[in-house]
Amino acid sequence: MSSDFYRDMILDYYRNPRNYGSIDDAEIKVHESNPLCGDDIELYIKLDKDREVEDIKFKGRGCAISIASASLMTELLKGKKVDELLFFTKKDLLDALGIETLGLNPVRIKCALLPYKALKIAVYNHLGKEMSEEEAHLLDYEGGVEQG
C-alpha cells in the first residue's frame, strides 16, 4: 500500500535532505523539471583527479518522493567513477528506495525517477556520448509529464 511508502526513512530523507545545495565549480550541472509534481531539480557533480565523484549535490522543490529519491541517489553515487554512472540503473535507485516492493503506482514512480533522468542526461552530455534510442525513449516515456 502506498502510504507505507511514507515511512520514516523516506520522510527523513525528505525533511532532512542529504547533500542539499549547489557546487559552484562542478564539472557536471543539469536542471530538469516535471510539471506533474511541480518538481524542479538541479544536480551538481564535482569530479576528482581520478574522475570519481568527489562531491554531489542537488537542490530543487518537489514532492516527498522526488526529494527523498534525489537525496538518496546522491548518497549512492558518491565515490563512483563517472563512467560507472552510465550503468547506474533505475532498478538500483528504486530498490534503494524500496519502491518496487511497496507497489507505488506508475504515476508516482515518475516522481522518483526525475533525479535519475537528470543524472542520465547530465552524464551523457558530460561524456559527449549519445544515449541509445531505446534509453532516450524510456527516459522520456517513464519520466513523462502530465498532459495538459
Binding site: 502506498s2 516527498a64 495538459g148
Partner: protein, 410 residues
Amino acid sequence: MFPNLDPEIVKQDFPIFKRKVYGKPLTYLDNAATTQKPRQVVDAIREFYQSYNANIHRGVYRLSIEATEAFENSRAKVAKFINAKDSEVVFTKNATEALNLVAYSWGLSNLKEGDRIVLTEMEHHSNIVPWQLVSKYTGVVVDYIPIDEEGLLVCEELDRLLSLEPKVVSITHVSNVLGTINDVKEIVAKAHKVGALTVVDAAQSVPHMHVDVKELDCDFLAFSGHKALGPLGVGVLYGKRDLLKEMSPFLGGGDMISRVWLSGAEWNELPWKFEAGTSSVADVIGLGAAIDYLNSIGMSRIRSHEVKLTMYALRRLSELKDLKVYGPKNLDKRSAVISFNLSNIHPHDLATILDEEGIAIRAGHHCAMPLMTKLGVAATARASFYLYNSENDVDILMEGLNKAGRIFKI
C-alpha cells in the same frame, strides 16, 4: 418547491459506486476533471451498439435512419438545454476542440496584426493555447484580465482592456481551479459595446447550473459532455447562427459538404458544415441521455445541493489550521470546486495518501499553469463535487486529510 436532492438516492443510479478501491468505498471528488456515468447513459450507448448501430446521414436503410434520428434528437436536447436552436449546436470531440474551432475558423479569417484578444488569468490551457496559436499566425496581441487575492476578475482592468477595443473577449464561465463564477452576462454586454466577439468556456458551468445562451447573449459557448454525466468524446460548440453561417469550415471531409467537384466544394448547411467525418454517434446519443437525466433532477436543485455541500466543505476544511483554500469566499460567486494546499505537503503526496482511502482528488496544475504562477504555487490539491456527493464524502475527505497530517507530522 421541489424537495432537496438526496445524493444517496442519486448514487444508486451510478454503478461505479458499487466498487471498492483498496477495499474501501469510492469517494469520487474529481468531478471537474470528469464525472461518473449513470446507468441510463451507459444503457443508451449499449442500446445503440446492440440495436441500431449504423453510420448516420447517408444510409437509406432502417438502421441508419434510426441512428440519424437518435443523433439529431440528442442535438435537439442539447439545444433546448442551453436555449439554442438546433442548427446552432455543433458536436465536437470536446470543449477544447470547440474552442479551437472558433479560434481557427473565426480567428484566422477575421483577425490581423495589431488586433487584440482579451482572455483572463484564470483560463484553462484550452482557452489560452488556441489563441496563442492564432496570435502566432496573425500577430494579434493577447491581453489577460488579472485576478485579485480572492480569485475574482479585476473589473477596472477589464474596463481598461475593453477600452483598447479588442476584437475577441474569450473567458471562462467558471474557473476549474478557483471555482470562481464570472459575471459572464455583464462581461459579454460590455464586450459587445466595444464590438468584440464573445466566447465563453462553459465546461465547468453547464454541468452544474442553468446556462441560457440567449440570456448570456454570448456569440459562442463551449462545453464537454463528459463533465455533465455524458460519455467521454463529445463536446459542444454553440454559435450564433449568423456567425456560424459566415465562417469557413474548421475540418474538411465527408458530411460537411453539400457538393464536391475536383475544382472545389460547397459547404453543407448548419450545423453539419462543422462536423466533418463520422461523429462519435453512440456518445452523442449518450450525451442526450445524460441531459435527460440532468433534466429529471433539475439544474436548480443540483446547484442548490452543490452550494450547500460547498458551504459544508469550506466549514469543515477551515477546521484544519494549516490548510489554505483558494478562490472566492462568497458562495454566490463560487462553484463546487475547492482548490487547497495543506501545510507544506506537496499535493501529489496528499493525493497518494488520500487514494489509499479510496478518495479521488486531483493534484497538479489543473491545466492552468499561468494561474498557478499567479497563485505562487507549483500545484494545488482540488476537490470538486457533483450531484452524487454528500456531506459524508466531505467527512471522509477530512479523515484522509487528518491522516496525511499525522504522516507528515504537521
